[in-house]
């Protein structure tokens, strides 16, 4: 085989693509993953970070609910370092109908989800931030998940199994011979290089952009993009996921994650052209705050760190071009059967929680087409970093008395943190003080996780995600990137785009402490540093 020939090419570096690449690579296939920008830039990195128990779907979509709880239990084992097993509450407020609770609990149980009705008093003790006025509470096995970490771990494992990853690589064409897909034409947005890659199977895991990709390949996939806006608060006010026990609606989930918590979402249909540039509107911000306060009143006095929006890759069920029959379930299309185009598969729909199952379905189909007979092992093989349960144990095995920064690094990297151990204590220098990210961790992300810009580093290490939103760490990390890549000019532009990206999520909520911090950042960068 030549260097540009593979068994399977996966388009899309979101969680679906990364998961599919890992599964294919674990089954012995030669894989290539391409993405036009970075990993986890689409819906993967723009959601609640909630590992659903399935309870939210139990009443309306029992099939998805059952899928979620199965995957939830699997991922707790195989992706331990990406997941916080903190459980969730479904609370009933005085304005909600308490009768719904019965329907809800019954539906959960039917789907195989443990749902315990608990006394509101107990709920208030378990989760002190919850609205004290609740009249009902149900405990369910929800978790928090770091989607960036999960995506990076899948990509890393695919690489450990011989897979290749090309980021900043845009697909410009699908190479076809008659009815058969033979490969892809790509354009590298960094180097300007145009390269062709060949494989008998191409998997379209482009999420909401899968429609464009399908079009390039000459088939039709109807996406119905729905924008969801969310707010990140600067403190972790809750320790359990808090949901409203009612029919799913706006801003009724509050998820804790690392040092922050996230409330969302809204939902509005948007045209496909707007997907790359979604913005949060002031009305959405108001709605999210007002509804969020009902879950945890403390949010009213908690600083908002950022506002952001993602686009759900909802897909219309087949043979329904109107889009009325939208599915939140997994859609795996064999375009040979469906459209007579050989060698093309689309895997879409689904959700973060069910990414592994989506990857398994897509890989099963790939293997069937290639005549490979090997069973899926992703449900039992831990991701790199997740070999041990608790990050504190991991930290203790490596450092006698781990510092806070070392514990935090272990929580982000799991067992892989051992690679950070260095005899040079200078590697412990904190680059990002808010999130306690050390130089060693940043250098590791540059070397091993394909980070080429500050924004890439943020997704992999949380650099610049904290309360100061990149005031000092941006230039410190830029110095390390410049050293690694040897290009200062590029780093100057990189700092600019990083600051712009941070500001984009700050100004929709620009008042109080956020405005204060923003003014300081303006002074530091424009007047002190002269950028």
């Amino acid at each position: 085989m030549k260097a540009n020939e593979f068994d399977v090419i996966i388009i899309g570096g979101g969680i679906t693509g990364a998961g599919t690449q890992r599964d294919c690579a674990m089954r012995g296939l030669r894989t290539l993953l391409v993405d036009r920008s970075d990993i986890a830039t689409g819906a993967t990195g723009r959601n609640h970070g909630l590992l659903h128990s399935g309870a939210r779907y139990a009443v309306n979509d029992p099939e998805s609910a059952a899928e979620c709880i199965r995957e939830n239990m699997i991922l707790r084992r195989v992706a331990a370092h990406c997941i916080d097993e903190n459980d969730g509450l479904f609370v009933t407020l005085p304005e909600d109908d308490l009768d719904y609770q019965k329907t809800f609990v019954q539906a959960c149980r039917n789907a195989g989800i443990r749902a315990d009705i608990i006394d509101p008093d107990l709920a208030r003790r378990l989760e002190p931030s919850v609205n004290p006025d609740i009249i009902g509470a149900v405990r369910v096995p929800d978790c928090s998940v770091d989607p960036f970490r999960l995506c990076a771990a899948n990509m890393l494992d695919a690489k450990l199994h011989g897979g290749q990853v090309r980021l900043q690589t845009e697909v410009t064409g699908i190479i076809r011979e008659g009815d058969t897909v033979k490969g892809i034409r790509t354009h590298n947005r960094n180097t300007g290089e145009d390269v062709e890659f060949y494989a008998p199977i191409v998997v379209n895991a482009g999420g909401v952009w899968g429609q464009e990709l399908a079009q390039i390949a000459g088939v039709k996939v109807g996406m119905f993009p729905a924008k969801g806006s969310l707010l990140i608060f600067a403190h972790r006010v809750n320790n359990m996921v808090i949901n409203r026990c009612r029919k799913p609606s706006n801003a009724d989930i509050l998820v804790p994650g690392d040092t922050v918590c996230i409330v969302g979402t809204t939902s509005s249909r948007i045209p496909l052209e707007e997907c790359r540039n979604v913005a949060v509107t002031p009305d959405e911000v108001t709605l999210l705050i007002t509804e969020g306060m009902k879950l945890a009143p403390r949010l009213a006095s908690t600083r908002i760190l950022r506002a952001y929006a993602g686009v759900r890759p909802l897909v219309s069920a087949d043979d329904d071009p109107s889009g009325r029959n939208i599915s939140r379930g997994i859609v795996c299309l064999d375009h040979e059967v469906r459209d007579g185009v050989k060698g093309l598969i689309t895997i879409t729909g689904g959700k973060l929680t069910s990414y592994r199952l989506m990857a398994e379905m897509a890989t099963d189909l790939v293997c069937k087409k290639l005549g490979v007979d090997k069973a899926c092992e992703t449900a039992t093989t831990p991701l790199p970093g997740s070999e041990e349960g608790s990050y504190e144990e991991v930290a203790k095995k490596i450092w006698e008395n781990p510092t806070t920064a070392q514990k935090v690094a272990a929580s982000r990297m799991g067992t892989r943190v051992s690679r950070m151990r260095s005899t040079d204590h200078r590697d412990e220098a904190l680059i990002c003080e808010c999130e306690q990210v050390s130089m060693g961790e940043i250098n590791l992300a540059i070397e091993r996780l394909e980070a080429s810009t500050l924004t890439d580093l943020r997704r992999r290490t949380r650099v610049g995600m904290g309360t100061c939103q990149g005031e000092f760490c941006a230039c410190r990390a830029a110095g390390l990137l410049a050293k690694a890549h040897g290009c200062i000019e590029k780093e100057r532009e990189d700092i600019d785009s990083f600051l712009q990206e941070r500001w984009k999520g700050n100004f929709p909520i620009g008042w109080g402490e956020t405005l204060r911090e923003a003014e300081y950042t303006q002074w530091v960068y424009k007047h002190v540093l002269g950028i």
Binding site: P282, A429, Q522, H527
Partner: protein
């Protein structure tokens, strides 16, 4: 406690006003929360084109040497900015190509000084650059930990061992005509930068680090010392928490630490800074001055507060307390007789005064003159 004037805010504006008033024989107090914008002062008075004798003497009497030389100064990331008046240790050049060969000195494991960016910027100007790293541990023990490598911690060490740096640089220096050092010298002794220049047989340029700014903190300390030598009362680490205003006159202010001992005065000066210093605050519905609830000059439509592009001018940074030509504010449209507003809390409501350090000094001097010359015609003032 009664003073002639009570000043709220101990940054550049508050200290300038305080020094000027003490010199005029007034008895004043400054209430300062601690840190202020001087902690990230670039060392350059950007909006002052030419220093007046009054500004020159304000600084020279405090032991702060300025130099005036219109041109450009080197920024920390290797770019240049037009500047005319600066602290003595900030170099001003007629043009960006100020040398031929440059030796850039950095400390090992110090991430807040951007030697590689500086080198790239200077090479663009046609200068040849060489970067060398000094090991701080070789110069001063005990060694700073990896997370103590910040400007002020290094500067404290440098106050002791700056002469060792001079020796090291002399050894490293080949045929370079310029040496660039991080601006971590002379925290407690303003003469050190000049002594370093005398010890190195090349032009020495100090380039800024990430904040806190060592020359800024030094400036703050020297101005504060000058103010106290003149008899001023500097209440460090205290915060004004409330004010009593009767009709159109401020009666007194309350601070956190003085408890029920009100600070009374004939005149009050509000120099509490912009958003970052909490002189201004905001919520989703308004921008406001939190202490006196003074009338503001700002756009009430929140969507107009920002420019979506980070690099563009941000409208909110122009918002400030509304005053008359004598810097007197109003509350619900009623002018407050004995309150004056100076410094960045004015935003851009007085564009003729510039911004930052220029605005702080000019507005402070004008208000101090108004207070000391009560017979001056309102609205007419001279610099």
């Amino acid at each position: 406690m009664r003073y002639d004037t009570v000043i709220i805010g101990g940054g550049l504006a508050g200290l300038t006003a305080g020094i000027r008033l003490q010199k005029a024989g007034k008895n004043t107090a400054i209430v300062s929360t601690g840190q202020n914008a001087l902690y990230f002062f670039s060392g350059c008075f950007e909006s002052i084109q030419e220093p007046t004798p009054e500004i020159q003497s304000l600084f020279s009497e405090a032991g702060i040497r300025l130099h005036y030389s219109p041109g450009v100064r080197l920024m920390p990331m290797g770019t240049f900015k037009e500047s005319a008046l600066a602290l003595e240790d900030v170099s001003l050049f007629p043009s960006p190509k100020f040398g031929r060969k440059v030796l850039i000195i950095n400390f090992m494991a110090y991430h807040d000084f951007f030697s590689s960016f500086l080198a790239e910027g200077l090479e663009k100007q046609g200068m040849e650059c060489r970067i060398r790293f000094l090991n701080l541990g070789d110069l001063a023990q005990p060694e700073l930990g990896p997370n103590q490598m910040r400007a002020v911690q290094i500067a404290r060490k440098m106050d002791e061992v700056w002469d060792k740096v001079v020796q090291e640089v002399r050894v490293l220096l080949k045929d370079e005509d310029t040496v660039i050092l991080p601006q971590v010298f002379g925290l407690n002794d303003a003469t050190i930068p000049e002594r370093i220049r005398q010890g190195i047989p090349a032009r020495v340029v100090f380039a800024a680090t990430l904040p806190p700014s060592v020359p800024g903190i030094r400036t703050q300390m020297l101005l504060k010392k000058r103010y106290e030598v003149l008899g001023g009362t500097y209440l460090m680490g205290d915060r004004v928490t409330g004010a009593h205003v009767y009709e159109d006159t401020v009666q007194n202010v309350v601070t956190k630490h003085l408890d029920r001992h009100y600070l009374e005065a004939d005149n009050f000066i509000l120099a509490s800074g912009g958003f970052f210093s909490k002189g201004l605050d905001s919520n989703p519905f308004k921008v406001y001055e939190p202490l006196f609830e003074l009338d503001m000059d700002y756009n009430t439509d929140r969507n107009a507060w920002y420019d979506p592009s980070f690099t563009n001018h941000q409208p909110y940074m122009g918002f400030g307390v509304k005053t008359d030509a004598d810097f007197r504010p109003s509350r619900k449209g009623v002018p407050v007789k004995n309150l004056y507003v100076i410094g960045s809390i004015l935003g851009e409501t007085h564009p003729e005064l510039g911004c930052g350090a220029g605005l702080a000094i000019r507005s402070a001097l004008k208000v101090a003159n108004l207070i000391t010359e009560p017979h001056a015609v309102p609205g007419v003032y001279t610099e």
